[in-house]
Symmetry: C2
Amino acid sequence: MIIDCHGHYTTAPAPHNAWRDRQTAAFAAGGDIDPLYPAISDDEIRETIEANQLQLLRERGADMTIFSPRASAMAPHVGDEAVARIWARRSNDLIKRVVDLYPETFVGVCQLPQSPGISIAQSINELVRCVTELGFVGCNLNPDPSGGKFSAPPLYDRAWYPFFEKMVELDVPAMIHVSGSCNAAMHATGAYYIAADTIAFMQFIEGDLFRDFPDLRFIIPHGGGAVPYHWGRYRGLADMLKRPPLAEHVMRNVYFDTCVYHQPGIDLLFRVIDVDNILFGSEMVGAVRGIDPETGQYFDDTKRYIDALPIPETDKAKVFEGNARRVYPRLDAQLKARGL
Amino acid sequence: MIIDCHGHYTTAPAPHNAWRDRQTAAFAAGGDIDPLYPAISDDEIRETIEANQLQLLRERGADMTIFSPRASAMAPHVGDEAVARIWARRSNDLIKRVVDLYPETFVGVCQLPQSPGISIAQSINELVRCVTELGFVGCNLNPDPSGGKFSAPPLYDRAWYPFFEKMVELDVPAMIHVSGSCNAAMHATGAYYIAADTIAFMQFIEGDLFRDFPDLRFIIPHGGGAVPYHWGRYRGLADMLKRPPLAEHVMRNVYFDTCVYHQPGIDLLFRVIDVDNILFGSEMVGAVRGIDPETGQYFDDTKRYIDALPIPETDKAKVFEGNARRVYPRLDAQLKARGL
């Protein structure tokens, strides 16, 4: 089967988004930050999914998406800790409804109620709720809740440890994923996302996080930011910083998805990064929605690029399924329970 | 001939660096921010150059370096505008001494006296001085003088226009180059540099800068940050933002160097980016100084990667010489005056 590890509910029903607008307006006005949540029918949800994610999955030949709330809408820099907590809960509950409507096609990954300057420990309860009560298999961890100031401690800092301990205990990975940019100099999907991916990887080189957490696992999306293209630089920097080779220092714990929207980029990714560290992902319906005039195909139809690789079918099976089941053991367990 | 477009005086004599320490200490203490500059002999300068840049150039078979002050030491976020102005002048004068000692091997590019929140117009005088009095052929333009806050307006903002007008008038390009990071979450050479390169390129997509300045030219170093790896994303984003294709919207004015420290990265760069937009560069003696255990060669010996490319010699000649002479017309004029 073919599992897309990186899908967002970018097409959430309008009443959900309108609720968020009311929430942030209430915060600004000093009102109720948990206004009445609208009734959203199953049909409304089906409509947003079937015309978008489900249709694209079918057209492109994938079977399942690891699905999370819209990344750019997480916006932890908007409001405060309480706003973030309620918003994460609403967003995750909506994902749960999608999963319940299409249990064979979607599996949940949660948004966390992060807030700039607030301890990540405040996000543990929502992670536990989503994993143990809603059946989610992972989370999106934002390394920069400030929305572009990069004011959080680096990921190897002990400030993150309480959350990492819970991730290991629950045996769930995190995708490193920033949200919208609140800086006009930094375009969200074109600059901020890619920069944050790259910065996170360098933090992993600088620290010794995986010595302390040998079972902690992260997916760096968007093909690992700039990292595969600059793989020589990172190997060289690890050496200069007296760190072990990347294969043991970082790559036992870090995975890249395939959200790289052209064949040469995917070719490089597979040439440089061990196939055991690559997970199929498309980020759809997401950052780039158009058709590549050079190929006549959608930029984000990343399955085509992988299909075109001259690699063994066993390797493709790892990228499409095996690695995801290994990195998300709770997904694997769910699939096994269904006889898959 | 072989021209390296990206070299920094990372090995500047100790008294020069000690002067800077005295300057910043004086600023902090409210003292004289232009303390007596030490006498540095020609031999002291020769020693730092011959054992480093010159030796490596000879060993690696390059002829000339477009040479600028150490990027990480520009540190425009340290001190204030006056500190930056004096520091830039000292640094540029030192580059001029290197050029005068080795006029066949080094040509100068200047540091600018940028300061966070201060108009770039304040940098015009130093640019003019360096170009018209010292014979420099370009400048390093810092898109984020804050040292990691990305608080400056995007490069397409009119705040930059007075400086760009002067660049066009003088017919000099700028290399986009940030300095040291003042953020522990963002490693300078491993994260901040690559992020800033990527962010700058996305700013060029978002704006219409080159419609207003058709003759303005920028070099984005470090192989263009993440851009070639994510070339499909950037083509797709240009399309989503209703911008013309990148070839006409950005790539008539923007060039990437070859500071990518492994063969697969260089292969991708040449596969994706037109050869007319690529300038040989090594960033040495710079970010990554070690030997790649996989090849037994220095990571930053980027000439080897280009030599290994299966492309016509005429294309290599463009990358090693022709493009640099086209992008830096004042260098071309100097070489022609020497019969080269």
